[in-house]
């Protein structure tokens, strides 16, 4: 299940759509109303711009040191342009349903961005681009506040952790930029803790 390429029936079936509104038969495009399984590799891609499973696994590994094995039981799907969902298991593709696993990642933009929920669910395995906050700073982060951060390295998205019940636990995603850690906690999930 860990390798999309092993399931030949799925590959190539992503995102086929009959022509465009004007009747011309252009390349298939992303259909925001359904889930399409990501192609295993670029060779199997039929929808331009759609990320591949290989690229998604590489990205988690390169950016955060989360090994591909962490997602061995998960398949990746696109619904909504660039929105990648992680689903444990598989169903036939395309799937015209309302939800499939959790939204994990924003792609189709220069810098891919993990979701808060994916950071909480998978971010415990991260070994780089992680910033650990003390009690007060963690509380500010959960409120959605920006705060100064001294850090070596390039700007970009970080997994933010704090200690809870004796061990580090991922809170969410921060954007490190211009000496600042910008909380990416969505408005609806911010809390005064």
């Amino acid at each position: 299940m860990g390798d999309d390429g092993a399931n030949g029936a799925d590959s190539g079936a992503d995102g086929t759509r009959e022509g465009d509104v004007d009747g011309s038969a252009g390349p298939p495009t992303n259909d925001g109303q359904r889930f399409d399984r990501l192609p295993a590799t670029a060779d199997e891609r039929t929808v331009p711009g759609r990320p591949t499973r290989a690229a998604v696994l590489d990205w988690w590994d390169e950016r955060f040191g989360i090994p591909p094995e962490a997602f061995a039981d998960h398949t990746f799907w696109e619904r909504g342009a660039g929105k990648v969902w992680a689903f444990r298991g598989t169903v036939p593709t395309p799937a015209r349903i309302e939800g499939l696993g959790i939204t994990a990642l924003r792609t189709r933009q220069e810098h891919w961005k993990p979701t808060t929920n994916a950071a909480q669910r998978f971010g415990g395995a991260a070994t780089r681009n992680v910033v650990h906050l003390d009690r007060d700073r963690a509380a500010r982060f959960a409120r959605g506040e920006d705060q100064p951060l001294d850090r070596d390295g390039d700007w970009g998205y970080l997994i933010v952790t704090h200690d809870l019940a004796g061990d580090p636990e991922p809170i969410g995603v921060g954007l490190y930029l211009h000496g600042e850690l910008r909380s990416q906690i969505p408005k609806g999930r911010r809390r005064d803790l």
Binding site: V91, E98, L100, G101, I102, N117, Q120, L193
Partner: protein, 302 residues
Amino acid sequence: MAVLDRYESLIDDYGAFRAACERPLPSVVRVNTIKTTVERARRALAASDVETDPVDWHSGLFRLPSDSAGANWPYFHGWLHGQEEVSAVPATVLDPAPGERVWDACAAPGSKTTQLAALMDDAGLLVATDNNLGRLSALRSNAERLGVTNLAVTNEDARTFSLAPFDGEPFDRALVDVPCSCEGTIRKNPDALDDWSIDHVRGIAGVQKGILRRAVQATRPGGTVVYSTCTFAPEENEAVLDHVLDAETCRLVDYDLPLDHSPGVAAWDGATFDPAVGKTKRIYPHQNDTGGFFCAKLEVGG
């Protein structure tokens, strides 16, 4: 609450029942074992200065001071989910295992769905269906906060549920926690009975029969279906099972329930039911200081 007087003949200590219905409910949370352990959640709550009272029949439930259920670190991390004590019953009766195919037919807002996912260790296929798109959005955000990744969500009427998106293969287990007249939630929603009418009870019972029949059809022979409501009305409980026992190939089975309860009633309002409805269980608010509930376990096949 005069509506409840229609059940006086069914309930042993009706005075205690009515008195319990007048009291507010304690706030209860369930530990989400997809993201943490019961012990670690307890320590995290203690570190947040939140007192916890254990619930003796279920190690993963805590009673909390009423104002603190959603405003603490473990909740933020999706380690906890607010869920009334009796609402945790049907998933434990269905008892799904990792790797199984499970359907939650009336799933939103997802307390029981996410409990099923935790019982499955987030492995195997869990399909959650609801006919209300707005409530499905609440289900989706609960499932995401709790880190449930083995969930597929569909928006349709459970009575005409389609297995097509799921290879057409039947389920091992189905939870049928139907929309109901909600009489048993009176402690949580004091206006729960304001719009009560016998026509509504009869109308919704027809929907309940249709949903339960579809769940039996969509479950493999030998599989398990659990039917539950948060109401006392026999029209929505034993009468629904009596109908489905006759219309579909399935049978009621007994099960252990570590809460005080009463057996299903064999007759009501001039009707008598299949005696097997004695295997269903009614939970009254005064028996365990909880909300009211009804739960039945069915095995599919002859």
